[in-house]
């Protein structure tokens, strides 16, 4: 059983009281417990089971504008006492930083909405095994599938965030995740692909037959890839890739990158940074949302942000420290975005495929070729060549490159948004990027 609110609260207040007693002017504590159980299958038999029970505490102590932090997994009173003393001693000799402080009291979350993020259902390991059996049976029907690996994870967590200004809140959340990775082989190549489902509530996850079928189909489609020639052609990004551009965007508009001057989007508020059909929203209070939050990691209330309207940047993602540096109020984004998404475009998926006679459709990228200082982008890619709206053949061992400043202005979005992750995008097309191949 995960630790209840009372237990976590008692640990948090023990730490706050002790920090105050030692002489800290302010303090904040986060205590969390999470239990997860995973069962893994390989080639239709049990491969691994893993049970994880993790406690974690992190404490920040302030002496006016001086701050230091400690974290630990050992919640015994003895250990906490030693650590808080150490933290306090470190704080004393850490230089002052005028922007250090707890969040403004009036910004702290007061009404905690029930966003239905916790499902108390428990799926016994035997039931997880049944799910994975069905999944792998379906995934391995085609003889070209030579290896299947799948897993089912159930996670339950609970946490409390408390600070010396009287904030003390937390809530439980849960997730149920099933995934399937398949390997297909023919005389020309061996390829791997995957499919997964992850939801807060057990009853919302995909059916195992569907999951196994999709993973196998996607993998078999990749067999016998060709390398294409270097060229400037339009690229369509599958939903599982297009969302990555949103994550990069979120990194570039975080108040910390802006305050440090290390973002290509610095000073771009009120400017056109995307094509004018693009709207981006960050919505924290989505019911059962994978990224939903009642307050941010400092306790600040979260509200929906329209980050980009008709291509124009409206706002940064702001936390207390960097907000003070920029002379802006926190908008409850310490710890980043919540449920971040591109709103639907006007074109259907099918029409997008037909929009040019020759298109590269990217289903996977590898490498870390994103530079948020310059906006330069260069990654390895795998996908398909589309001619006249039809998938012709799989493509691999190529790279795609461009710069976000131009790429963002050349985005066309389809109208097929769905909420599968905490960051979501419809299928996306970008014109004018360079493909390097043969």
């Amino acid at each position: 059983m995960i630790k209840d609110q009372e237990y976590l609260k008692s640990k948090a207040s023990y730490c706050l009281d002790l920090a105050k007693k030692l002489g800290a002017t302010d303090a904040s504590v986060t205590v969390g417990n999470s239990i997860s159980e995973t069962v893994s299958f390989r080639n239709k038999v049990l491969d691994e089971s893993n049970r994880s029970d993790s406690l974690a505490i992190s404490i920040e102590t302030y002496i006016d504008k001086k701050k230091s932090s400690i974290s630990s997994s050992n919640l015994l009173a003895d250990n906490l006492k030693t650590l808080i003393e150490k933290c306090f001693e470190t704080t004393k000799i850490t230089p002052e930083d005028e922007f250090n402080s707890l969040p403004d009291k009036e910004l702290l979350a007061k009404n905690i909405k029930d966003l239905n993020l916790y499902d108390q259902s428990h799926l016994e390991n035997d039931k997880k095994i049944d799910y994975l059996k069905e999944l792998e049976e379906t995934a391995s029907i085609d003889k070209k599938i030579i290896n299947t690996e799948s897993g089912f994870t159930e996670n339950k967590s609970n946490f409390i965030l408390a600070n010396s200004d009287g904030f003390c809140n937390g809530y439980k959340s849960s997730s149920f995740t099933a995934s399937c990775v398949t390997v297909a082989k023919n005389e020309n190549s061996m390829e791997r692909d995957y499919e997964f489902t992850s939801k807060c509530h057990l009853s919302d996850i995909s059916n195992p037959l569907e999951l196994g079928k999709v993973a196998a189909e996607q993998t078999i489609k990749k067999l016998s890839p060709k390398k294409i020639g270097s060229d400037k052609i339009s690229i369509i990004f599958d939903k599982r890739i297009s969302k990555g551009f949103l994550s990069s965007f979120a990194g570039a508009i975080s108040a910390s990158s802006i305050a440090r001057g290390t973002s290509f989007l610095k000073d771009k508020v009120n400017q056109q940074i995307f094509s004018n059909s693009v709207n981006i929203t960050d919505k924290p209070d989505l019911i059962k949302g994978m990224g939903s939050k009642c307050f941010d990691s400092e306790g600040v209330k979260t509200e929906t942000l329209n980050l980009v309207n008709s291509g124009i940047l409206n706002n940064y993602l702001i936390d207390t420290y960097n907000g003070k540096k920029l002379n802006l109020k926190s908008n409850g984004r310490s710890g980043g975005s919540t449920n971040l998404y591109f709103e639907n475009g006007k074109v259907s998926y099918d029409d997008l495929l037909k929009s040019h006679s020759k298109i590269l459709y990217v289903t996977e990228t590898i490498g870390h070729g994103t530079n948020l200082v310059t906006g330069d982008y260069s990654v390895g890619a795998t996908g398909f060549l589309i001619e006249d709206g039809e998938f012709k053949y799989p493509v691999n061992e190529i790279t795609i490159a461009g710069n976000f400043n131009e790429m963002f202005k050349n985005i066309t979005l389809a109208n097929d948004l769905e909420f599968k992750y905490s960051v979501n995008s419809p299928t996306m097309m970008i014109d004018g990027m360079t493909v390097a191949g043969k």
Binding site: R51, N125, G367, S378
Partner: protein
Amino acid sequence: MSNFFDKSDLTRKDVDEIVSETLKNCDDGEIYFENSKSESILLDDNKIKSSNYNSDLGFGFRAISNDVVAYSHSNEISKDALKNSAENLKSTLKSIKGTYNHEIPKTNNKFYDDINPIEQKTLDAKLEVLNKVNNYLRKKDSTVKQVTASFSGEQKSIEIIRSGGEALTDVRPLIRFNVSVMLEKNGRKETGVYGIGGRQSYDDYLKNDNWKNVCEEALRIASVNLDSKPAPAGEMKVVLGPGWPAILIHEAIGHGLEGDFNRKKTSAFHDLMGQKVASEGVTIVDDGTIDKRRGSLTIDDEGTPTERTVLIENGILKNFMQDRLNARLMNTRSTGSGRRENYKHIVLPRMRNTMMLSGNQTQDEMIKSVDRGIFAVSFGGGQVDITSGKFVFNCTEAYEINNGKIGSPIKGATLIGDGPSILKEVSMVGNDMMMDPGIGTCGKAGQGVPVGVAQPSILIDKMTVGGTKL
């Protein structure tokens, strides 16, 4: 040495009994205790941005029957927590009838000292170095707009208790010192990053004002990039500099030679043992025994002493890297490559220090032989798709080569290649093998472990460069 039981209701005898009872019909398994202390101190934007100290304690209990692994971990060290874990393992492995393999090799070698680097330098002294770095760089060059410098240090104590009561222990220090600098000139911004580290005290790396060399190197990389032109796109010849660019070896073939992917036949190398996978003259080893290196270990996380494993000898595939589980299932022995990020994770076969050994040619000869290509000196990170064998890495410092001469610097670009065939494209191997500066972390299945790489300069006849210029 950590005493894992002094604050709990557990005695060593209880642990032995629970472990032996739980593993009695298993093929392998152990309980792994870990106590780690770590710190990170960061200077950023002219200020000490954070000073964090972490202490983590926990155990992971593993039972293996044939090829099924049951694992349970917790950070409560108590009789109840251990018994709960034991119950959880038994409930997974319902009907087991294995024979426990008690055999585990021993060693008297030690590749680092039992030190706690965090305690060996005062916080004041660390803050002083970070402030010196900031002032030095900002004074040195007026285009410096941002400086980030950090210390991270760790001491990890582990104790592995196997069925029958055999115990194996290790104390592992690890430090890293890093500097990142951003320059701005004529509206253009570029960053340069450099770091050093390994399994010694901070001062072993910082003596003789060595922090200045780290600053200079970060500054040099950033300056070069300020003048960089768009990188070319397409297939061409690539000369790799010595040292850190060996992450090519790590990604292109290292991961593909880890035992698990080959037992499962999902690696592009699984049926190539004894075959020619690289040009003649190419020899690659994975070595866990180099004194005080970031990737070195006295014993791996299953207790097996590490070794120098020859992976490819003169172009021929000789060995995979193995942990106990994959070794047993493939009828071979562990190469001391069983590693885990911490007690929360299962053991996997992993790399330690992966090195391509020196040949006879010079870097000069390589450059002179190239009509059109690139010379890559420093890299960010890399990644591989084990199954298709395709791998990438990102240049952070590279130059064009035109008619045998080094030309302008080029912007960061991704290079992509095919693991099983890339080493056959190596046409020259340099005589200048160098270790990396001790900063690598390898990710696999969500677990990060410290690793090292080394190589001489090499010439690759054909690779795809992912620039924007056609």
